[in-house]
Symmetry: C2
Subunit: 172 residues, 2 copies
């Protein structure tokens, strides 16, 4: 007799069964929105992101496609207490900046940041052309983290000064 | 007074703090090992994979870098009950095969397969050159799944015939 194979999400299964899994990136809206309070929002004004996980029906991890215009940063330099991150460079060139130096990332390069490592990281587009990447993350977002170069941390309550005073803006 | 920011994995943090997060792909061993029983192992003999998550210290999701030599398949065509998958094409060209057709994937293309969708998928390298991709997955591996074109399912017990009889080989 056949063993039973549980379908955990029959509604989701029906929904996605007839959908091609190749994502139509151009059809997914881009946004440069940020929850960063002033003045920390300036460096990410030309960071254009698309949420891939909802477009693909994924719930087990988050994934974004990001284009950095020349001069833009991927974020303020930061680290996560409870989230792992993996980045795959698609096009162009980005400078990865961390406590211990600078590393150029180009198409096909892969970088990984494990939860709990306090070696803050971000990418800066220091080139004259766009660069793009896909970044995946999973874990406990509410565990928070901190920004390496500025007076800001993030918690489940939002963005705070290091002394615990909240910033006015809210995370996205 | 400063809020407390819990460091969940201090040992891991210490371990990775001095490690550059850009992965040295060439230094990560490649394998073409497969747990598939005969004769289903043939199509993946020239699938060369590297585990990225352990190399990067990641635990919240799995990630692999895969090279398919000409003719090789990424897997037998399959779907997962409890795991989401996201694939980012890096180089070359692969044919994505599903219930509802064939789609070419090229560098920069992204495909997503949500858990519970029974639309089986795999990639075939039908070109004359290598192709490569990164694939990320997370969820409940033990929830199992099935192969669309062959008499095989996978469960926490391993590979089984559809009638529940086990195959001799074990999953990796």
């Amino acid at each position: 007799m056949a063993r039973r194979h549980k379908r955990r999400h029959p509604a989701a299964a029906d929904r996605w069964r007839r959908t091609l899994p190749k994502l139509d990136l151009a059809a997914i809206p881009q946004s440069n929105a940020t929850g960063y309070p002033e003045p920390f929002d300036r460096e990410v004004q030309e960071r254009w992101w698309r949420r891939l996980a909802p477009a693909g029906g994924l719930t087990a991890f988050g994934a974004s496609h990001v284009v950095l215009k020349p001069g833009a940063w991927s974020s303020q330099r930061h680290w996560h207490n409870g989230e792992d991150e993996l980045l795959v460079m698609l096009t162009g060139e980005a400078m990865l900046v961390e406590d211990n130096g600078r590393t150029v990332l180009r198409a096909g390069d892969v970088a990984a940041w494990p939860m709990g490592s306090t070696n803050g990281h971000h990418l800066r587009n220091e080139s004259d052309a766009d660069c793009s990447f896909v970044v995946v993350s999973a874990g406990d977002r509410d565990a928070g983290g901190a920004y390496s170069d500025i007076d800001m941390v993030f918690t489940e309550e939002g963005y705070l000064h290091r002394d615990g005073t909240p910033y006015p803006a809210k995370p996205l």
